[in-house]
Symmetry: C2
Subunit: 433 residues, 2 copies
């Protein structure tokens, strides 16, 4: 653009701005649970310029109706009716692939814009939905889909587009962080899970969270924006946190570490590695600072080095902040900075040290057998740690190994797993360095 063209473009903008103040964007909320009512609350309290809440859709909407919203708001149980109304922006807070996906597609098809907090939908269908939005003249924004109230997505798009992000590590699931940071303080898994469920931090079926499925969806989204690769989230194999016990926290502490559910990915000359699971993190690392339901993302750029973002990743208000910020950006005519991304397979593995915890009925020769098997796979042992005070009939001990591929280690552990002294499958965790 020449300077006159810039000048003209901005003059258009200014007139659009004037129009916009005269006629705000009409906003429909799809879903009026914790996040939805927080969004409405912020819109009512802060009255950001250029936005008007006009519709709320929810099943059984009568019991959702609140007296503090504008009297002009239409409360509806008819999704189709709201989608064919004259709203400009649909805020999708229902979650899950369907029916949320159909609503979002229909809104975008008709040229409306969509703001969503739906990590699953964006992880699996983000590219397709962005194309649809661009083709039909709407916008798709999802700053709330990853790390709720922490502006990682706008920070990446607007502030780090000039870097080349090569590696990322994140604590992306507040439920797991709550559970593991409480276990670090001495609690048992089952007790903490029950507490998390009572506080509404965990679902009745916690698999999506503790199994790593929630975090991998968020990781896939961040990989597209940060590493600029489009991956199938299902290629990221998650490891559950449910096998981690109090014993592991005790051994981790002796190693100068604690345990967090970490989602990590890196790209090197086209080779992409990505994984999610409980990992040992150094007590001096930022990841160890993250407690309770906090989220954290560490991005490592070729030029800018490490950038750390941390804060409340979930909860009604923090997620609502991200949603309202996206709405404000739409109202101000701020366009996304769309960085090019390429499809990629997850074909590489991290070569990192590992922590392996065995639980055995003690007898002579166990260590010799285990170390012998590891040696045959050319895996170097870093340390063998056995703390006093555990019973011989259920003895936990730990072997840490020098950096190796997970697949090599798994081969060795399959062989070791046949030993009759083992009371359970060995627990094998990556150690972050």
């Amino acid at each position: 653009m020449g300077q006159r063209e810039i000048a003209r473009a901005v003059q258009k903008d200014d007139s659009a701005h004037t129009t916009r103040i005269g006629k705000p964007l009409r906003v429909a909320l799809f879903g009026f649970g914790t996040v939805g009512s927080s969004v409405a609350r912020i819109l009512v309290e802060s009255r950001p310029e250029g936005l008007e809440l006009t519709h709320v859709f929810n099943r059984g909407v009568a019991r959702k109706k609140v007296d503090w919203a504008s009297k002009n708001v239409v409360w509806s149980e008819d999704a189709g009716g709201v989608l064919s109304s004259d709203v400009d922006v649909v805020v999708e807070l229902a979650g899950g692939l369907e029916p949320a996906g159909s609503w979002v597609r229909r809104a975008l098809e008709s040229g409306k814009s969509v703001v969503t907090a739906n990590k699953k939908l964006i992880a699996f269908h983000g590219v397709e939905l962005e194309r649809l939005a661009a083709a039909k003249g709407g916008h798709l924004k999802y700053g709330a889909a990853v790390a709720g109230g922490i502006p990682v997505i706008p920070g990446l798009e607007q502030g780090l587009a000039g870097d080349r992000i090569e590696r990322m590590q994140g604590i992306l699931n507040g439920t797991c962080n709550f559970i593991l940071s409480r276990m670090e303080a001495g609690a048992e898994y089952a007790t903490v899970l029950a507490a998390a469920q009572a506080k509404g931090y965990a679902e009745a079926d916690p698999t999506e969270d503790v199994g790593g499925f929630d975090a991998r969806a968020k990781l896939a989204i961040l990989m597209r924006l940060a590493l600029r690769v489009v991956v199938d989230p299902e290629e990221i194999i998650p490891q559950s946190i449910t096998s981690v016990t109090a014993v592991d926290f005790s051994y981790a502490r002796d190693l100068g570490c604690t345990i967090r559910q970490v989602a990590r990915a890196e790209e090197r000359e086209g080779n992409v590695a990505a994984t999610v699971g409980p990992m040992l993190v150094d007590l001096r690392s930022p990841l160890a600072w993250s407690r309770n339901t906090e989220n954290m993302v560490i991005l490592t750029g070729k030029y800018g080095g490490d950038v750390v973002f941390s804060g409340h990743g979930a909860g009604g208000h923090p997620t609502a902040v991200a949603v309202v910020s996206d709405l404000i950006a739409l109202a101000h005519g701020s366009r996304r900075v769309e960085v090019p991304s390429v499809p990629a397979k997850i074909g590489a593995e991290f070569e990192v040290p590992h922590y392996i915890r065995f639980l055995v009925v003690d007898r002579p020769g166990i260590v010799a057998e285990i170390t012998g098997t590891l040696a045959r796979e050319r895996i170097n042992i870093r340390a063998i740690v056995q703390k006093a005070g555990y019973p011989a009939h259920a003895l936990p001990f730990v072997v840490t190994v020098e950096p190796c591929k997970s697949s090599t280690l798994k081969r060795a552990l399959t062989s070791i797993g046949k030993m009759d002294c083992l009371l359970e499958e060995p627990l094998n965790l990556q150690m972050l360095e």
Copy 2:
């Protein structure tokens, strides 16, 4: 905007995008030092879409010329010539109020856009320059002016616009953080300052950094974006870090703290408080994690709670990432989200606990006299700490007091300062809670 209007606006955008790819934004660098050459380097290596480096202005430009830049780049010593050329964006990296301010004004006057890393210019003249940009059809972006490679400004504008930020604390000066985190590890001020100067982290005259003037300019910028108040930076009274000694780090550690240069501000019902200086920070606080030249910003929102940003605040490459990211946002037609701000006076004071370190020739009655004076000002003592091992003729000891206003404490200390046993003025630091 109705949905058809949105559709039309975006179609316009798309055509602009097509035009843009055909004709990239022509970029002129003003200043080819560490940051300028990093910007050029990233543009050459990453070739972001829609940007072309066409001019480099620097005094004595002949010795700056590099062989890895495009042959089409015009290397010039004639600022006026470059400003009247057909460049679309001027990247101002000269720093300081003049002549940088004149160049920026002239560029904006002629409808060009400006990207700058100049915190001083933006802190003192940002509002005026933004108005000029808007009036003439250009854009002014300054993501690099605060915390270099950490995307605090885009994070605030794009990701936290939906919150109401009430408080902020930051480590905004890398030089001070380098000096104080080295002193924490046992080094003396003069030694570390010399090392910082040798590494290029500190100027020959370090006053701007150690005196807190650099940090207060950045604080004033963040106050406008986060707290939405426009203040005169000179109303923020900085405290120098030069009075902090090894003794203070030793006493701080006994109190579970360390010392950092912190810039902080808060707004409560129109009352604005802001200050910069060395402060005691809890060892468990994120501010204590920040080491070397790192920067950190903690924003506390009414809805989203604390958000922490951390990373490399200065240096050629990290600052260049912020500059190039701003350029990419311009090339993509991304508009700033301009939140309304109001002029404000800094009229409030923080009520916080204070650390006061005395250096005395020991004699009976000193503590009674000091505590008596504090009591007359109704300041409550929290603790009196005197470590063994210091000589009686130069004895440092510490009094900490419960939250009180700095002005009240200063009145008491003026009175105490007249005591003949004092070898120097008492050192008085805020303690962050």
